[in-house]
Amino acid sequence: MNKAISVGTQARLWYWQRLSAMVLALCVVGHLIVIMVAVRGGLSGAEVLARTRGNWAFGAFYACFVLACTVHVPIGLMRIAEEWLAWRSRGVVTAAWLFAAVLGLAGLRAVYAVVMP
């Protein structure tokens, strides 16, 4: 468990981090627009769900957003753990996988919760 992450894995992580960043850049612009529209006049459960329930385009957009986050965020946290906490063992990869699982499941559950009619 104490062996360092291989160079090949590091390169693959870099690639996935950048690829997910490209998707996220587009998703974040969309999300910022949604936020600005949603908060106008105050947020209410009824108002939010009236827009989202049964809206499959909205669901597809946010499912894509969640999946890109699931790839991007754990790799970023792994970098911070490596560089700021000197945590460079393969244990950090396991922790990142666990965080990805939590993020992916919780994110898709949230999308399901607001989109399912």
Partner: protein, 117 residues
């Protein structure tokens, strides 16, 4: 701190790195909470509404405002990194550091306008 460290840190690109890292860390920690909050909708409109009412106060609104700014800063900082890494080399794209700050400011102001409209 060594003299060279000081010189390296007294540079727009270092501050861009720091903003990108800290905003990313804050967003990564916020995401599971955000997903959990939206997941309330699974129990119905009333559950989501109850949670939203809980957050309808100046403290949470200020927090949301900060997160919107961090999200736009992180997105623009990420686009700068993608340009540095994938486009022909033209230096550290310090103009994009300024664009990022401008985008963060604009997103923060737009969010405030939406909140009060």
């Amino acid at each position: 701190m060594k003299r060279n460290d000081m010189r390296a840190r007294n540079h727009a690109a270092y501050w861009a790195f720091l903003i990108h890292r800290l905003s990313g860390l804050a967003l990564a920690l916020f995401l599971p909470v955000h997903f959990w909050a939206l997941g309330h909708a699974i129990q119905g409109e009333a559950a989501l509404d109850g949670f939203l009412k809980l957050t309808d106060n100046p403290l949470f609104k200020t927090g949301e405002w900060g997160l919107v700014i961090l999200l736009s800063l992180h997105m623009m900082g990420g686009v700068r990194l993608l340009l540095i890494e994938f486009r022909p080399w033209t230096g550290l794209r310090k103009d994009w550091v300024a664009f990022s700050l401008g985008a963060g400011l604009c997103a923060g102001l737009a969010f405030m306008l939406s909140l009060f409209s």
